[in-house]
Subunit: 538 residues, 2 copies
Amino acid sequence: MSRPAVEALLDVIRDWGADRLFTCPGSTEAAVLDALVVRKDVELVLTTHEGVAVSMADGLARATRRPSVAYLHANVGLTNGLSNLYAAQLAYSPVVVLNGIKASSIQARQGFTTAARMRDLVHQYVKSDWQSLTTEAIGEDVNRAFRTAVTEPAGPVWVGLAQDLLESTAEVPVPDVAPFRFDPRAAPSASAVRTAVDLLAAAGRPVLVAGSEVARAGALDRLVRLSEQLGAPVLHEDRRGFERPGFPTDHPHFRGQYEVGHPLVREADLLVFLGARLFHEFEPARVPPLPAGVPIVHSHTDPKYIGMTYGVDAALVGDQGLVIEALSAALPAAPPRAVPPALPTPPRRPSVPGAALRPADVVDVVTESLRGAVIVGDATTAGGILQQRAHQHSGDDYFVSSSGSLGWGMGAALGIAMGLPDRRVAAVLGDGVFQFGMPALWSAARSDLPVTYVVMNNQSYAAVGAALRRFGGEAVERQHYPGVDIAGPRIAEVSSAFGVPGRRVDTLSELRESLEASRRADHPTLVEVMTDPTEFGP
Amino acid sequence: MSRPAVEALLDVIRDWGADRLFTCPGSTEAAVLDALVVRKDVELVLTTHEGVAVSMADGLARATRRPSVAYLHANVGLTNGLSNLYAAQLAYSPVVVLNGIKASSIQARQGFTTAARMRDLVHQYVKSDWQSLTTEAIGEDVNRAFRTAVTEPAGPVWVGLAQDLLESTAEVPVPDVAPFRFDPRAAPSASAVRTAVDLLAAAGRPVLVAGSEVARAGALDRLVRLSEQLGAPVLHEDRRGFERPGFPTDHPHFRGQYEVGHPLVREADLLVFLGARLFHEFEPARVPPLPAGVPIVHSHTDPKYIGMTYGVDAALVGDQGLVIEALSAALPAAPPRAVPPALPTPPRRPSVPGAALRPADVVDVVTESLRGAVIVGDATTAGGILQQRAHQHSGDDYFVSSSGSLGWGMGAALGIAMGLPDRRVAAVLGDGVFQFGMPALWSAARSDLPVTYVVMNNQSYAAVGAALRRFGGEAVERQHYPGVDIAGPRIAEVSSAFGVPGRRVDTLSELRESLEASRRADHPTLVEVMTDPTEFGP
């Protein structure tokens, strides 16, 4: 079949099941916008910043496990979207980035909003980057982009589409996408499975570490079975690599988050990392992050992460669902070991009534009041507490980004809500984060998505304060922390001015009341909760 | 002299006369922040988004014609700042970008917020990109960065500073910067000047086109003299390349902006482009942008732009002040020609009282009420009218960016106000633009700078609407323009919530009143003026 290029482009998008196109458009996208006046099989989702277009597409892809499309404009639109594209990359999110580019002659002359090497800008954040060279190639190029995005390990791809090629009225081939939509998963080799199973069978105190890739593969149930078959406790992966829960926090085998100092890790005689990174380090470790002398089984969808820093005793490359199935099937029948009992939760420092709210108390109220909601975390210093306390039964109950790309959560929450239409979504944000994601409020206001934004406003870049504390220099000596105080904005009012009703609260009871009200709302809302600015970090 | 690396770094910054450091910091900047607890010779200017840090530094550099410093954090901070760095590049703005990078071991392991090739991300936007390899090299590397930034053609540079190198307590050499601060200007060769002067002397109807580089060189007075010496009319450069005025709009020889259809261009027998681009094209021209058969003299500081697309009859590479001086000195004594009279201004379509405000009327009120203020333009579709009507006596009276980087003006206005402390500054913005620059409101609220933000709110991406009109497809047929309607935000309220008092106005008299009040304020204010959403483009 042949069709004008822009129709071929939209046909390919539709045939890959991506029925939305997230964009903040410019003149280079006129032909696509014009086609969408008539076509209804692909929905134009307008955003007011490219960071929002990318994070919404990313959120939708994470929630649906299907490819999504962000359409960016020129070099400036691409660079505006890069930080959130980095987030998509770390989550193996198959976001197809289409990028409108000025007409060929304008590119050659370094005209308005061009870059001599567009592909260099995006290269590090995508699995492939290609600029279509002819009108005829557009359908094929975009089809290949989708195929590349979804092939495991999945991830973002980029296709540049010059305005003159896209606006051509020439009829171009429309590929039949069906033969490209194969099962892209890999299973580990039988010998690798045998090596891992031998280690598991020989271990007396194995600990499983559930990584984000388990959730992306939809394999929590299989990991539950493996854990029960073995009688092995399960930890979530280290916080810095965590993207989503790989094991139910309400399962009796769940024992918290991986840390080398965790009592189970200290006692373990085998560590099995499934779909986790070893590690996504924040700074040079003061103590080695793996216990000395303990054998390591490491499985990951992405072979580049196996043996990247630490050698392993068994390596299992492949889809985490298939890896876990293979381990379960190959394990010799044996009575399950007894899982060591959970340690008692350490007592909480009691709150002082009337004092500034502590982040931990706020997180407790949020996770209790919004129980059942999907939590999207984008709070730098409160993120650790949130991760410990958020209820995570399924792999879709909690989403964060390990990218450090502030503001990602505001758009991602909307994409996730689109992808999980039966769920309420709560995005828990810091006040610093909020300022990076504000244009998402426009998109929220235009939607009727059941999203609650909770902004924990400690009026600080608390992470910078924590870094100055660790640095231990003049700032600590004089108790003066430059670059930390960002007090001022009345965030709830900003939100209301965008059309997302906002309320600022100073007490836990007001917070509860606001969250309850948000559960009944049929549109996005925002609660700004004032927290203690002196409590740096978790 | 030897000092710890971070002190050497700050010494070099100070010795180059850059006494402010614009940043949105993270943990990699702890050592620098800590040093600034004690040191007062470099001021930390905190921002809440890297785009703001870069645009403030750019504005300051443009206004002072001196280098400035933006300190970004990790890969995500860099990518957040790239669009505004592109703006700085097009303006030849010597912004020294320092970039905190994770410790060396974290980079190698692809840890948190790292990029395998940081330099590739920024390469296209800077004159040099280098990551310091040793602690000892930091002083030298940053000194070389300043030297490179200010050497003509000037422009941004980038230096990556890994946390472990910067935090080393080793004493490192502090370079004496004096021998590096030479006069970096080039003058054109004598033979090139002779060729150009021969063409000028032979021409009967020469037209001078004053580019932005004339203003950057501070050479408006010299261009006035040349124009009077010749009796030649002067046009500003084409709108798409325009960054700042190269000729006083109140001089009797000023005749508007370059267009190939301009009556003087049609009549000219010589065109002399001084510090302008030929051209910074927006889209393929429907008619050639140069008149056939007319000799061209083209001068630019940046040799890459001479002969990039169109051949020339004389080329003058160098600083525009030196170029113009050389032409003036070499011109044979001759009575000046008579400058053709200005054409009468075409009559304005009268406004209908009570109807939606027309952008042209709003611009008239803004430019009249704020006469004497520096205008910073960042309004996509109203930009053309603003440029025509803003009073531009000096090269510092009007600043825009030719980058298409929306939101640049909100931070740039603050940097320009810092650089021109005796001037009031008004930033004229579109409502789409506003959403890209919002974090600048935080910086504005923290300052006592005399900045007035005027947001022309037509509730539209009018440029997208204009593109759909030019495309002439189904959107026009059905009068349905997708991707255009961005109505909703109450911009004045957003501003007030940030601590920048905002007011929404619907009439020209309210607008006048608000602008008058803003002139008396000792802090930034914002006026949101509702304009006609149906009037796409100028």
